[in-house]
């Protein structure tokens, strides 16, 4: 009889453990789906942000043209000065309008098929941050290619 009682007690413990395991497993799977959705949104956001900024027209041409001119020379304005003075406000307005005031950003344009230094804008710490996400696109100019990369992270 005592043996039976012990068996039942063990059964209770096993049933409880099984239920707790199922519960924890399903919670972790649920949170994984949420993380996947979040990552998908951040990827879409970063991609759209980079392309939209580069395609936007200013009095000096599109931002993409300004970036090319800042790197290769030419253009309608003092492109480097224009980027330094206008890009921060431009990016901040965009982040604010999409409700992401907590995002920090960094843009880097680096040569792909030739030697040269990179052109950078924004907070360089974002590039080295552990939790960041990015988007990239190519800017072509007379056979030369610049890779423009946008890094985003949540401010800490």
């Amino acid at each position: 009889m005592e043996g039976q009682t012990s068996m039942i007690a063990i059964a209770i413990a096993i049933v409880m453990l099984i239920f707790i395991a199922i519960f924890l497993l399903s919670s972790s799977l649920g949170s994984q789906t949420s993380q996947t959705l979040k990552a998908e949104y951040r990827n879409l956001y970063a991609h759209n942000a980079l392309l939209s900024v580069l395609r936007t027209e200013t009095e000096c041409g599109t931002m993409s043209d300004v970036m090319k001119a800042a790197y290769f020379g030419g253009g309608k304005c003092d492109s480097r000065k224009f980027l330094d003075s206008r890009m921060p406000g431009f990016m901040q307005d965009m982040l604010n309008a999409t409700g992401h005031t907590d995002f920090d950003w960094f843009i880097e344009a680096s040569p792909q098929n030739f030697e040269g230094v990179s052109l950078s804008l924004g907070n360089p710490a974002v590039k080295d941050a552990k939790e960041k996400w990015d988007a990239r696109t190519l800017i072509n100019w007379e056979g030369y290619q610049l890779e423009a990369k946008l890094y985003l992270m949540t401010k800490v």
Binding site: I8, I12, V15, F19, Y45, A49, R86, D93
Partner: protein, 180 residues
């Protein structure tokens, strides 16, 4: 006598334990199901919001034909589109807004006497909802009815101003009823 009392007590303990197992199982199962349903609903709403946002951004009905990558809306197409047209494409139960975001720093590059008017004009244009009557002097396109409780997702896009032949930065926001 003592032995049979002990046996009865053992049985009682056994019965209590079995009832306890059944009770715990029922409570855990119900709790688990309840929690799971709530989480699934929230995830499904998030998924739908993201899907609608992506569909909107990629829609050939709103994007100019020359922009294959999407997220490049043509203002004339946005003005011509109606909620009904877009519901045929994306289904019902959503609200969307495309808003032009003017680069106000541009006004700072103008002579001082023109700055104030430039900023006023930009602000005014940004806040006018587009209709067929006021197009193209407007900067907001809204589709379908906005509900009181919605979850919103936004991404940056471009708006091609056909008459001026310029490209502005814009924000696409999609709202899905939060069901709460």
């Amino acid at each position: 006598m003592m032995k049979s009392q002990a046996a009865i007590t053992e049985y009682l303990v056994l019965v209590i334990m079995i009832v306890l197992i059944a009770f715990i199982a029922v409570v855990l199962l119900f709790g688990f199901e309840l929690l799971n349903t709530g989480t699934e609903q929230a995830k499904s709403r998030e998924r739908r919001a993201l899907f609608t946002l992506e569909s909107f951004a990629a829609s050939t009905a709103l994007n100019g034909p020359q922009y294959q990558k999407g997220s490049f809306f043509e203002d004339a197409r946005l003005t011509a589109a109606t909620c009904g047209d877009l519901e045929n494409l994306f289904g019902s139960g959503w609200w969307a807004e495309v808003r032009v975001l003017k680069d106000k720093a541009y006004c700072d590059s103008l002579p001082v006497w023109r700055r104030s008017k430039c900023q006023q004009d930009m602000r005014r244009e940004e806040n006018i909802v587009c209709t067929k009557q006021n197009y193209p002097s407007c900067g907001i396109w809204r589709f379908c009815a906005r509900e009181e409780k919605m979850i919103y997702t936004s991404v940056p896009v471009n708006v091609y101003r056909k008459i001026n032949n310029t490209v502005d930065l814009g924000i696409l926001t999609v709202g899905i009823p939060s069901g709460g």
